[in-house]
Symmetry: D2
């Protein structure tokens, strides 16, 4: 059987290496998670189990790919930054994206029972992913500011929306109508006057999202356990397993970056 006669088809594969000397950001995003969250009875506007599960799956990815220096997640999305000069998979876009997103998806299902003990997974979820090159540190910071601002805006809206539905008995359509065209200040006011809620006192995980970074040696910040429960797996990884910190802080201002100068020096 002449193998070589057909091998020419391999030449149709196109090179998709990312530009050198750029930060590489892979962002994954749940496919059809509106329906997924309904089928699995997610608490609205924020389901703690789902948020923790997302971050644990992200942690699995970060443990596997040592060149990821920082992750940021909110809602059903997560972003992963590879260090500027990573040579992983020769910086091939498709290799980087698909390894990250498939490990995230398989981890999500693998560790689901740890977070949703009373709620069986009904069907396997899909995620999409994209990869983006950012030439400068400022571009990278602005990327995370963009995602965190998005988190804030969505959370403020969703908090109002669901309060109106859950506590005032509005239909989703009525709630949507009431919030149409409102400014952030209007929504803060609604929360305060109608529900006695000071938005800024809500848990930071909802308002800021979740940041994963590797601990510097000797650091004793709250460390998360490794992503897998299997005794076999843990045993293999105990000694070399990376220590990862989970934060829910502002990354739009300079403080975060000033406190973690090693991130941009990577």
């Amino acid at each position: 059987m002449a193998k070589s006669r057909f091998e020419y088809v391999k030449s149709f594969e196109q090179n998709d290496s990312c530009l050198p000397n750029c930060w590489l950001v892979v962002r994954i995003d749940g496919k059809g998670f509106h329906r997924f969250s309904e089928v699995h009875h997610f608490v609205k506007p924020n389901d703690d189990r789902a948020l923790q599960l997302m971050s644990r799956a992200a942690q699995c990815v970060m443990e596997e790919f040592k060149d990821i220096i920082l992750c940021y997640g909110q809602s059903d999305e997560y972003s992963f930054v590879f260090k500027k000069n990573t040579q992983l998979y020769c910086r091939r876009a498709s290799k980087l994206m698909t390894n990250v997103v498939s490990l995230f998806a398989s981890s999500f299902v693998f560790i689901w029972p740890q977070y949703f003990s009373s709620q069986e997974l009904q069907y396997p979820p899909a995620f999409d992913a994209r990869i983006v090159c950012y030439p400068s540190d400022q571009n990278l910071k602005d990327y995370f500011s963009w995602r965190q601002a998005d988190c804030h805006i969505n959370n403020l809206y969703n908090t109002c929306f669901w309060k109106l539905v859950q506590e005032k008995g509005l239909t989703p359509a009525q709630s949507q109508e009431k919030l149409k065209g409102t400014l952030s200040s209007d929504k803060n006011e609604i929360l305060f006057t109608e529900f006695n809620i000071n938005y800024n006192n809500l848990p930071e995980i909802y308002r800021k999202g979740t940041i994963l970074i590797r601990q510097k040696k000797g650091n004793t910040e709250s460390q998360t356990p490794s992503c897998t429960t299997s005794s076999y797996y843990c045993q293999q990884n105990k000694k070399t397993r990376p220590r990862i910190s989970m934060l829910h802080v502002d990354i739009i201002g300079n403080s975060f970056w000033n406190e973690h100068p090693e991130l941009l020096e990577s």
Copy 2:
């Protein structure tokens, strides 16, 4: 909080639409499956449970993405063909690749217990994926011929290799050494004279791999059950669920394509 100030970073995303009027093939491939197969005690050279699990996961992908007309799998890889003029995700390469590979990976974990009841999954696996454009029908046929020829060559080698290890007591290194430089005919001869095996009588799933195609209406070929066990999920999909046939036949010659003319007419 000025959202717009940061949104410029979105402009760094690059358009990666695939050329129109080409067959789009997504191929996924297990990451580190040599180790994965050892950890999970896969039977060598072919583990029926693993092969079935791979095909079941591919079926889940095919059920979700209706524009996939044909899949082909062997070992730890699977290829998915989208119809020539699919407009799914505007033919964006990253969207197509990542949705396919993440759903494959999450399905693989989700349905693992159905095939490996006595063997707990030790850790979540990753898969990579690539997408390739093929302009002509002949290119597409040659692609599958390439993969099926690869299946044959690897299977012949692996069958010999493991027979020598398992039945003749050779070490892997000795077995490898013995097979070095042998032709297909030599390996067939070894199997026949030393192990009384006629290679061509081995199960076709090992020698040919697995083909998934959609059944034409009214077709009563062996139909596989839907990929998910959840009563909830099945209920939702019972009526509209696609009927998919699983074949283990030659796709290098013309017979397969002549018997399924609708594939290339899609």
Copy 3:
């Protein structure tokens, strides 16, 4: 002087090979030719000298790059088709585009005096270029139909526009206003009733544009002289110089392609 310390910058060049087994079309287009045509007092709506010059420059390109099988030009644009399986410059998009466009531009200036003896070239013109892959023969035919339909539509409009300006004394603005929203049939009617012109009797070069193809051996169709006048150059190329035919015929219907079956067989 350490050369190697800097050579890493070469790795930033990105591979841009065109997909195999596709027709490659390079289309060049004059930059700012509205102004260029005014400065050089082009006859409106069609300047025979300019049209001939464009085609002669295209011929120079076709003589240099033997893998070009067909060219089509109209107004200030020209398209060049490379044969489907050309390996020229490893099918690198930037190499193909820039070689074609730069030779076209330098030839345009080089042979200008042959066509504009009484009109000195005032400044060197620029052209842009793009390259497009077409997977099927039908796509390629449709590409040329698109350009020839464009030629017809623009020429019909321009013929009316300039007749109104040149013979009826309308200002350009008035002429434009009069033609706004008119159909092809309206413009044919204006030409016939107001100027006694039957559009279909106008020279085919204006209505159909110009096609360049290589002559089959023994063919005695009107052959154009080689693009260069220099005795030196001609001497070098006399014997091997390709014979090129210039046609002004319909390429939307099937006749042209039926009469030149070798084009698509290339």
Copy 4:
């Protein structure tokens, strides 16, 4: 005539915008200039007329495209840097490359007679071009260091090579053989002992190449005349025409960049 039926072919054009916030460098390179230089009897190893012509053509390009901040040329190549945030042609790679290279080529022919009065142009030359994105200032500096180091290395070699041929009567093959494997220091030594030439005293244009930058206002450095001789053209451009300086200095060290801080601030 149904235009729209064919217009779908336009959708096969692929977006090729360059990554934002990167320096864009277009490098053009003469096609077959070994032969071109022989046909036109270029003085070896350096022909002043040819070097000046190349720089004058580059100047034409720089005058036309205001976003070019810096050019560097040597031998038959020239590099053009667009400012980091240029929006010209929406940063489309093919538009940028082809406009630059075609204007360079047409200018080369247009102004040829000014530099080669006694030597008629025998045929129109072609140039290829490529575009490369550089994320950081250091990458950009290293790019120019790479080209200038290349200029030095080639010039040292060529100077030795031609001295051996022209003054010692070696054949080209003998000269090549003699220089095979020699270090820079060896070649300096040959020049000094055999030809009494101190390499460092050779004209800087040969050793360093040519840099074109825009003059800061009020600057009275040696200014080159505009690229075109036509009285018509000059008249149009007299007042707005950019003032460009030509330098032959080291750009590998920091001095050049320190003296021209505005370049990287652009």
